[in-house]
């Protein structure tokens, strides 16, 4: 009887939130504390969003939370941990093996122009947006979108799905890196020479026809089957490597950012050390400057090609690891007055710098390898000529090769034509543009075998790749674990260690797909479809959600509260118009390319005619179901959840006697100090007094 009165008393909190009715309240709070001022404010596009006030902490509550350090959310030990974690998440394997290839194939130095322009207009605004919204709403991706509007929960769920799918295959790549790392502790390196066949008569045929590095990668590492249909069975050595990869990840993520924050001191800084060592080593090798020159020689004609701009946009987007939800999570552990604008700019600059630095290092080594190949090719030709014509050694050198060949051709052209001399062209060796796993596991490993002290360089290189991959995995796993906790998938009583353990175990078991014989093809499939289209949709929805559903005005107010000044015209323009348009353009391009083009995969088939060239094979028809699951399910969950929720609301309205569900408001949930026990005991005492 008097309990209602008791509860309605103000317990001294400045908030006047009424925790009873979920939708009605008796003060209408305006975003700035004053009513809309004039027509221009009313005309600003803002979608209706009732109840937003109830779902978020207002600025005073945030300040209180900050000062009293109440609340049970984990926190960063210091700013450096946060910066290193974000840098580690953004800087990943793509900076090392995708950017250099794009740079070289799209006009070298000229590629910097679209890359930097799109970095400024697409990357930085999106990054700032994610940081700011996470820091303001202090929740993971699912929590943030549910808070902004319950109908936008789908965006959070989509982020979680994408993070999950990407974690699966990304850790398999780390498992491959670990396998190469394990095998680097021997001299000579196992991929430097072909093994001898069973009856000791010669080298293994598959190796002899291709090359030792190809053989080691495709046969001894992957044991790849010839087609994606052919499952090929589980490869036991890869299972061990997969277990070790997930084990290391579990140790680092066991308690969330408490343990991750310590691990990033090593995983985020070591790659830079190794890159510098490789740069110094690379510059002392013959041919490295040719490689760097080849990389950066600008070809301004490429700027007219729209593919260049679209590839640059896609690279900026994927390289920042946006839309995974991890960055929102990391930012939510910050103090409320952290300068997220400065952080976004700094991290973007570091990311761009790392891409360019890594490209320089990679191409110095590729230049060395190409020069070695060219020299080998030329010496082979010279030797053939010397042997055929019994000329003394040293008669034909690299300098006079062309003239001698010419003179011999004029006199004995028929013999020359029978010799099948190879054409040796340095540029063709340099532009054997390789990207992705081929760059790391074939091209670079071959270059390492030609350097003195190969095991040392091999160990350093694979440690660097391991650290790059692991620090990105921290963000991916964060993007899976925090939504799972927010969605209450696991019982609350389970400790954090058990939740992360169960997640890692499930991912490890599902990841066994990728250690089969056809695992490599599955991985390429996942990479093309799970990690591309859904992210673009999520990012676009994020921008629309924050700018138009949450409200750009409220967002500006929040930023004034958090960092002290209103974001300037650059941010306003990019958030409202420019960045969403760029995302839309990239999405339309990607979607149309995938839908119209016939998709195929490249397979290592020793029985094919063009072996050792990889063979293009079409996908079997059942693959389209898998592609739909990979790309369609996360993308469709964005509108799907909204529809599902609308249907549920509609059904709920029809039965008003349905039990009152958990109230979705702040003071019900946030246990600020001793409000709860206070209310309990005062209730009891009051009851006794008034009985």
């Amino acid at each position: 009887m008097t309990s209602d009165a008791v509860r309605e008393r103000d317990w001294g909190t400045p908030s006047s939130h009424n925790s009873e009715a979920p939708c009605c309240q008796h003060h209408q709070r305006f975003p700035h504390g004053y009513p809309p001022q004039g027509p221009q404010e009313i005309m600003k596009l803002k979608l209706p969003n009732p109840g937003l006030e109830d779902r978020i902490l207002n600025h005073d509550e945030l300040e209180r939370l900050e000062v009293e350090e109440a609340g049970d959310r984990p926190k960063w030990d210091n700013k450096a941990q946060y910066m290193l974690t974000c840098v580690g998440f953004c800087v990943g394997l793509g900076n090392v093996w995708r950017f250099p290839y794009l740079c070289q194939s799209h006009g070298g130095g000229a590629f910097m122009i679209p890359f930097l322009i799109l970095l400024v207009f697409e990357g930085i605004p999106l990054l700032h947006l994610e940081f700011a919204i996470g820091q303001r709403l202090r929740k993971g991706s699912v929590g943030v979108w549910r808070t902004i509007n319950p109908y936008m929960l789908g965006v959070g769920i989509a982020s979680m799905c994408v993070s999950f799918l990407v974690s699966l295959y990304y850790n398999t790549i780390i498992a491959w890196v670990m396998w190469y790392f394990f095998n680097s502790f021997q001299e000579p390196l196992p991929w430097s020479q072909c093994p001898i066949n069973a009856n000791r008569t010669g080298l293994v045929s598959e190796c002899e026809r291709s090359s030792p590095v190809d053989y080691f990668w495709y046969r001894e590492t992957l044991n790849t089957s010839a087609a994606i249909d052919d499952m090929g069975g589980l490869q036991w050595w890869m299972i061990l490597c997969l277990i070790s990869a997930w084990g290391v990840l579990y140790v680092c993520c066991i308690r969330g950012i408490e343990t991750t924050g310590k691990a990033v001191y090593v995983t985020s800084t070591l790659p830079y050390v190794v890159l510098t060592i490789f740069l110094i080593r690379g510059l002392t090798l013959k041919g490295s400057f040719d490689g760097i020159k080849f990389l950066f020689t600008p070809d301004l004609n490429e700027l007219a090609n729209p593919t260049t701009w679209l590839d640059a946009g896609a690279q900026v987007f994927y390289s920042f690891s946006l839309a995974f939800g991890g960055l929102i999570s990391f930012s939510s552990y910050n103090s409320v007055h952290n300068n997220c604008e400065q952080d976004a700019v700094i991290i973007s600059i570091i990311n761009a710098f790392t891409s360019i630095y890594a490209a320089t290092v990679i191409y110095s080594i590729i230049g060395f390898r190409a020069t070695e190949r060219f020299d080998d090719c030329l010496s082979g030709n010279i030797l053939t000529l010397l042997n055929t014509f019994d000329l003394p050694e040293g008669n034909i050198t690299e300098s006079n090769y062309q003239e001698v060949l010419h003179s011999l051709n004029s006199t004995n052209s028929d013999i020359i034509s029978n010799l099948n001399l190879k054409t040796c062209d340095l540029n063709s060796f340099l532009s054997e543009g390789v990207e992705g796993t081929g760059l790391a596991f074939i091209v670079f490993t071959e270059a390492i075998t030609k350097m003195p002290l190969s095991p040392l360089w091999s160990v350093l290189f694979f440690v660097m790749l391991f650290c790059l991959g692991l620090s990105s995995m921290f963000g991916n796993i964060e993007g899976v674990l925090v939504p799972l906790q927010d969605l209450k998938v696991f019982p609350k009583s389970w400790p954090k260690e058990v939740i992360s353990g169960v997640t890692c175990l499930v991912c490890c078991l599902v990841g066994l797909i990728f250690v089969q014989g056809s695992g490599n093809y599955w991985l390429a499939l996942f990479d093309s479809f799970a990690g591309s289209i859904p992210l673009l949709i999520i990012a676009f929805s994020e921008m629309i959600g924050v700018v138009y559903v949450y409200g750009i005005d409220r967002f500006n107010e929040d930023l004034i509260f958090m960092i002290g000044h209103k974001p300037n015209i650059f941010w306003q323009a990019t958030w409202r118009v420019i960045s969403p348009l760029i995302m839309l353009a990239i999405f339309i391009f990607y979607f149309s390319t995938i839908v119209t083009k016939e998709i195929f995969y490249i397979a290592w088939d020793p029985e094919s005619e063009n072996f050792p060239t990889l063979e293009k094979k079409p996908y079997p028809s059942w693959i389209y179901v898998i592609i739909f699951l990979l790309a369609g399910v996360p993308s469709l969950s964005v509108p799907g959840t909204a529809v599902f929720r609308a249907i549920r609301e509609y059904c709920c309205k029809k039965h008003p006697s349905a039990p009152v569900q958990e109230i979705d408001s702040v003071s019900y949930k946030v246990h600020i100090q001793d409000v709860e026990p206070k209310s309990q005991k005062s209730q009891k005492s009051d009851q006794k007094l008034y009985t």
Binding site: F182, L203, S244, V251, R255, L391
Partner: protein, 220 residues
């Protein structure tokens, strides 16, 4: 008379040359001294050829276990600037008869490393056309090196997981003990406001008659 003497002197080499040139039992040899030794390359001259013939004679001796082979049993021809030539081996009993190809091949194969070392060359730079180099035996490890490194890494991971889990468990236990200890302390200070009903239930609790619902004494 003089002609006859001259013929006698020059006939053997001429005959020898014919034996060498047209024979089926000869092997072509090719040396790539500059490629193999670079700046330390020596010049190919008669003395080096002498060494070659003597090493081949040595090889034949070892193979046939006959100490009768001499340098004169090894005939050389088709000498080129490339440093390549053809050689044949004559039999010790009959200088006009040649040792068959297979025998010579076996002899060379058995002693290839000695022949290589005499010239500071390798299988790539001292080639006998038609005799492929024997492949070196593959290195067989007792335990593969990668398994050792894997064991180290997995061991470190397991130790890390156990240590972290133990520290969590011990932290929780300490927190529980602290909470239990605190409520014991509270017993002395009568602090109704701070204790919930559940903690009172564990111990005797303070019996405060003012708030008691016990109506033992107020039976009507």
């Amino acid at each position: 008379m003089l002609a006859g003497v001259l013929l006698l002197i020059f006939l053997p080499p001429l005959v020898a040359k014919d034996l060498c040139k047209d024979s089926q039992d000869g092997f072509k040899v090719r040396l790539s001294i500059k490629t193999g030794l670079g700046d330390d390359a020596y010049e190919w001259n008669e003395s080096e050829m002498f060494l070659f013939r003597s090493t081949l004679a040595y090889a034949m001796r070892k193979h046939s276990n006959q100490d009768t082979y001499t340098i004169d049993n090894i005939l050389v021809c088709n000498d080129t600037q490339r440093v390549s030539f053809v050689f044949v081996v004559t039999s010790t009993d009959d200088p006009d008869q040649l040792i068959p190809k297979e025998q010579v091949e076996l002899a060379v194969r058995q002693n290839k490393h000695r022949i290589n070392n005499a010239f500071l060359l390798s299988d790539m730079t001292l080639e006998f056309m038609g005799i492929p180099p024997t492949l070196s035996a593959p290195i067989i490890y007792d335990t593969e090196p990668w398994l050792i490194v894997f064991g180290v890494v997995i061991g470190a991971v397991a130790v890390g997981i156990v240590a972290l889990l133990m520290s969590t468990v011990s932290k929780k236990r300490r927190a529980k003990e602290k909470a239990a200890g605190l409520s014991e302390e509270d017993e002395g200070i009568v602090k109704e406001n701070g204790t919930a009903l559940s903690s009172l239930g564990r111990k005797e609790g303070v019996y405060n008659q003012a708030f008691s619902n016990d109506d033992r004494f107020t039976k009507l």
